[in-house]
């Protein structure tokens, strides 16, 4: 068997449908984890990537949209493909706004679902990649001292060293020293890069 392309999580309470989905996705070369309820899905030890979540909107315990919220809360970032036996437009709009990959009313064409999965995986990979990057950057930034982090925050505002020194109440020289250390630690080559890095690391500018 060739290496699985990724994992697909399915949460579907209808057993028959769940089985059919499982079968289909397996036959399409993916790994499948099929849960019958949101809770059993949340009980998963870990989420593997690239992965995506096939989620029925009307679930017995909590509906799909709420699960979506919960995952966001929990920081589990899996692309979600919503399925529904009966679609209503408000639902899909909301779902999409919250970052669903797609919203498919049953019965859906096989190619539709498979392409959605591919797209989801891509996004997931992308996210994973991004996350990885972010983690690296964060690691780098974590090497900064608090003072340095503070200076960083001022630097990415685009202010002159002089200004920064004034705002912080330190000498310009100190600022320059901090700046060079930051550049060094973050391996950034330019202020622009710093800005990018900070952004990635969710560091907001000082003012």
């Amino acid at each position: 068997m060739s290496a699985p392309k990724g994992i697909v999580y399915i949460v579907e309470d209808d057993p028959s449908f769940r089985k059919s989905m499982e079968r289909l996705i397996l036959a399409s070369g993916y790994e499948v984890v099929a849960c019958e309820s949101a809770n059993s899905f949340l009980g998963q030890a870990s989420i593997r990537h690239p992965g995506c979540l096939l989620l029925d909107v009307q679930l017995p315990d909590i509906d799909g949209l709420r699960l979506q919220q919960k995952l966001i809360e929990k920081g589990i970032r899996l692309p979600i493909i919503f399925m529904t036996g009966h679609g209503t437009i408000p639902m899909s709009v909301q779902a999409m706004k919250d970052g669903a990959v797609d919203f498919l009313p049953k019965p859906f064409k096989t190619k539709d679902i498979l392409s959605a999965i591919v797209k989801a995986h891509e996004r997931d990979a992308h996210i994973v990649q991004e996350d990885f990057e972010k983690k690296e950057i964060k690691a780098l930034i974590d090497t900064l001292t608090p003072r340095e982090k503070e200076v960083l925050r001022w630097v990415i505002t685009g202010r002159l060293n002089k200004q920064i020194a004034y705002d912080l109440g330190i000498t310009e020289k100190t600022v320059i020293v901090h700046r060079s250390r930051i550049m060094q630690k973050t391996r950034a080559s330019s202020v622009a890069e710093l800005v990018r890095l900070a952004e990635k690391a969710d560091i907001s500018p000082a003012a």
Binding site: D14, S20, S28, G85, H86
Partner: protein, 886 residues
């Protein structure tokens, strides 16, 4: 003192009769004794067409004692027989004192001259010589007139002279024998008989000798015909003992003198020292003792009777001479009997006693007796009167008591009692009269009773009164009397006429008349009701036979009355309904039920069926036994058809409602279909993928295909459910597991609940409970309720739906659907289940109405209550057996 005008009783009270009799007797006795007895012969008015005339020729002169005795008797009988004295001509010929031929001749001539113009109807000759005279000198005297002669001696001598006359002779004969026998009877020791006659009585002496012949040897006879009177007297004066004298007759003696025999007899009797018997009644009382005498009185009476008979034609003389028998009379002088010591008892019966006044005492005995008798009679009268008085008092008392008793009855009687007269007036009335008629007695008796009678009844009443004049009773005669207050009362009369009076009793039958009238009216009304009722009415025997039917019933079943009366109820009942009918009748007869209602079919004469609603109840006899049934039959064919139509309409409406409530469900069902179809699609695609792969998904194909089939069938189920909901079906009751029915509905709505975020709680306590219900309709109810609950909770923050089922009792289930919605307005709680009531903007308003109809058909009720916290609970009850009637 009489308080009442008339006695009630009209019986005869014989109180006075005894007294009257006593009085009469007293008067009779006193009058009879004190007054000389004489018979007042009333002059009779002769009604003979021509008076009969009789000429009597007497031999001797008028003063002859014989004539003095015979003639009055003769005359008395003649006048009693209707002969007037004027028509009797008595001629005394005096032939004994004048016996010269010239005298006789001249006598005959003078008689001829005297009676020249008037011929008598009969000639009576008294004594022999008159007859001889008539036959001799009087030959030409009334030759054709019949002759009767009495006191004739030797009638055989008359026969010798045949003169052409018709003569009837009553001879006289002297009963010498009888007298002698009497003398011997009275004086048995008699040895000597002196027979006294004069010279002219030779003949008599000869007769004596003949008559006394039997005694010739026993007695000594002394005959005196040849003596002078003095000698005779002498001899009788000195008779030896054991002598008896029989004085016969002395007209003349030896000396040639003529005498009156009676006087001689007197003298002889006086002189004789022995009892003297005689032969003629002229001598009795003048001394002789008596004997078997010739009674001149009797002869006179007898002669007169013969004369009357001849005159009346009873005796017709055909022969020249006819001789009548003779008779004798025993006569005795009572004083002489006493003188000679003769016991009266030896005298023959019928003997006449004369001179019964021997003593002074006895002379006045009559008076004394009369006086005593009068006194006694008066005493008796007094006693009688006292007794009568006593009886009268008793009778009065008894009468009084009886009268009182009867008065009580008279007045206590509720019926009107009265006495009236045939003139038309009440004479007496009882108290009831006033009570019934209202008038007082005075008012009623003041006017003729006809005045009070109803004008229409007047003529009949008058006829009835006339009938009574003929003394006929009248029974049960009814008429109307006017009462004081102006109304009329019917009276039923019975009356009895007695002479001029009418005794009557009347009963006030106004009430009876009214009840009769009322009964008639009621009968008529009943009949009208019965006959004209617009429902069939039939009276049926306990066996089911028709006793009486009305026209409507005949119409309903299409048979004529005559035909129906031949049938029983079972004969015309549809076979399917026979059992139910019979069952109910039996329960009725046994008394388990008093009445029953049954819907059944009759088979009409034309074969058609008619649905009828039969109400039956039982009529019992006085004893309590079932007698017959009253049945009312209503033709409900139209209603049945309408009902079935109605059911049909209702089903359609339910269907419509089902359809209209589909909205919410359709998405749920569509969802399920989508699931199934989606699964099928997935599986099929999977199969396609696997086919293109070289290695082994063979085992998978089997599963895939199996799943496809399952999903397809599931989809089919869903379609079926939908179709069941949208299908228009008749109500069909089957056994269903209640829990399953409910769960099915809940399942249908699962996705809805999910979508709407409704939390559903099922509390089904009716495990294993099977009910008889129409599945579709019952589920329709649940769906309706769930739909409503869903809408009620539309804006609610917390949506809780609870469905609960419990066993209220062994045959009743309660199902309730509770929501946490807005609740129900109290004012609308009852209106909810009415048609076309809705609180929804575009609701039809028939949903709950249909639910109610469905539940009621299942034998239950549906209602709503607001929850204490939030929302409302709709509940309905169901009968386990679906509410089918028994």
């Amino acid at each position: 003192m009489e308080r009442k005008k008339h006695g009630i009783l009209n019986g005869r009270v014989k109180v006075v009769t005894f007294g009257q009799v006593c009085l009469f007797l007293t008067l009779l006795v006193t009058w009879h004794v004190s007054a000389p007895a004489h018979a007042q012969a009333e002059p009779q008015v002769s009604s003979a067409p021509a008076p009969k005339r009789v000429v009597l020729l007497y031999t001797y002169g008028d003063g002859l004692p014989a004539y003095q005795k015979a003639t009055p008797a003769f005359l008395s009988v003649m006048t009693a027989g209707g002969i007037n004295l004027n028509d009797l001509f008595l001629e005394y010929l005096d032939l004994q004192r004048n016996h010269s031929a010239e005298y006789r001749q001249r006598l005959a001539d003078s008689l001829r001259y005297k009676y020249a113009k008037s011929t008598p109807d009969l000639i009576v000759a008294v004594h022999t010589e008159a007859l001889n005279f008539l036959l001799d000198e009087g030959k030409g005297l009334f030759p054709d007139v019949p002759v009767f002669s009495y006191l004739v001696v030797r009638p055989e001598l008359i026969e010798a002279k045949n003169t052409g006359r018709r003569i009837l002779i009553r001879p006289q004969s002297l009963d010498m024998k009888g007298t002698l026998e009497m003398a011997l009877k009275m004086f048995p020791q008699t040895r000597r008989i002196v027979f006294v006659t004069g010279t002219a009585e030779q003949r008599l002496e000869h007769q004596a000798k003949r008559d006394f012949e039997p005694w010739r040897n026993k007695l000594e006879f002394d005959l005196t015909s040849d003596r002078s009177v003095e000698e005779i007297l002498q001899s009788v004066a000195s008779l030896p003992p054991q002598s008896t004298v029989i004085y016969c007759n002395v007209f003349s003696d030896k000396t040639g003198r003529t005498f009156i025999p009676r006087d001689i007899g007197k003298m002889v009797a006086k002189a004789a020292n022995a009892p003297v018997f005689c032969l003629w009644d002229t001598l009795i009382g003048n001394g002789p003792i008596g004997g078997s005498l010739l009674s001149f009185e009797a002869e006179g009476t007898y002669a007169a009777k013969v004369v009357l008979d001849i005159l009346n034609g009873k005796i017709v003389l055909t022969k020249p001479v006819t001789t009548l028998p003779t008779s004798k009379t025993y006569m005795f002088d009572w004083q002489q009997l006493k003188r000679w010591g003769v016991n009266e008892n030896i005298l023959p019966k019928g003997s006449v006693l004369v001179n019964q006044v021997p003593t002074l005492w006895e002379q006045y005995k009559g008076l004394v007796i009369g006086g005593i008798a009068a006194f006694l009679a008066q005493t008796l009268l007094v006693i009688g009167l006292l007794f009568q008085r006593y009886r009268k008092i008793r009778a009065e008392a008894s009468l009084h008591q009886k009268t009182e008793e009867l008065d009580q009855f008279f007045n206590v009687s509720l019926d009107l009692l009265c006495i009236a007269n045939t003139d038309g007036y009440f004479l007496r009335l009882n108290a009831a009269a006033e009570t019934i008629l209202g008038y007082t007695h005075d008012e009623l008796m003041a006017r003729p009773f006809f005045d009070f009678i109803h004008p229409d009844d007047l003529l009949r009443t008058q006829e009835a009164v006339s009938i009574q004049l003929l003394q006929h009773k009248v029974i049960h005669f009814e008429n109307r009397y006017r009462c004081k207050d102006g109304t009329y009362h019917w009276l039923d009369w019975t009356s009895v006429p007695v002479g001029n009076l009418i005794y009557a009793a009347a009963r006030d039958i106004t009430d009876r008349k009214q009840s009769e009238e009322a009964l008639r009216e009621s009968e008529a009304r009943f009949r009208a009701t019965f006959e004209q009722a617009t429902v069939g009415v039939a009276h049926v025997s306990t066996e089911g036979r028709f006793l009486r039917i009305n026209p409507k019933f005949c119409d309903i079943v299409g048979y004529s009355p005559a035909e129906l009366l031949e049938f029983t109820d079972r004969d015309i009942t549809h076979s399917d309904d026979l059992d139910a009918d019979a069952k109910q009748i039996n329960r009725l007869l046994r008394g388990e039920i008093r009445t029953y209602v049954l819907e059944k079919r009759y088979v009409r004469k034309d074969g058609g069926l008619v649905w009828a609603r039969l109400t039956a109840s039982l009529v019992r006899k006085e004893s309590g036994e079932p007698d017959w049934l009253v049945t009312i039959i209503e033709d409900i064919t139209a209603r049945k058809e309408a009902a079935s139509e109605r059911i049909q309409l209702r089903n359609e409406l339910a269907h419509v409602q089902r359809m209209s409530s589909m909205g919410l469900l359709s998405s749920a069902l569509a969802h399920e279909l989508n699931q199934s179809l989606g699964a099928i699609l997935n599986n099929a695609s999977t199969a396609q993928i696997l086919i293109s792969k070289p290695k082994g998904g063979d085992t998978e194909f089997g599963d895939i295909l199996a799943d496809i089939i399952t999903d397809a069938m599931h989809a089919g189920e869903v379609i079926r459910k939908i179709r069941a909901i949208v299908k228009k079906e008749q109500t069909k009751f089957e056994q269903w597991n209640l829990n399953l029915l409910i769960e099915e509905v809940v399942e249908l709505y699962r996705n809805v609940f999910n979508l709407e975020k409704i939390s559903i709680l099922l509390d089904l306590q009716t495990d294993f409970v099977h009910i008889r219900a129409d599945r579709v309709q019952l589920q329709q109810v649940l769906m309706n309720l769930i739909n409503n609950a869903n809408e009620a909770m539309g804006e609610s923050f917390s949506k809780k739906l609870k469905i609960r089922s419990t066993m209220q009792s062994p045959d009743m289930i309660i199902v309730s659907v509770s929501d946490s919605g807005t609740g129900i307005d109290e004012a609308n709680k009852d209106k909810l289940f009415e048609p076309f009531f809705t609180t929804k903007k575009d609701g039809l308003g028939i949903g709950l109405r249909i639910c109610r109809s469905i539940i009621e058909e299942h034998g239950g009720r549906i209602w709503v209550e607001n929850n204490p916290d939030a929302g409302a609970t709709f509940s309905f009850s169901l009968k386990v057996n679906g509410g089918e009637s028994e």
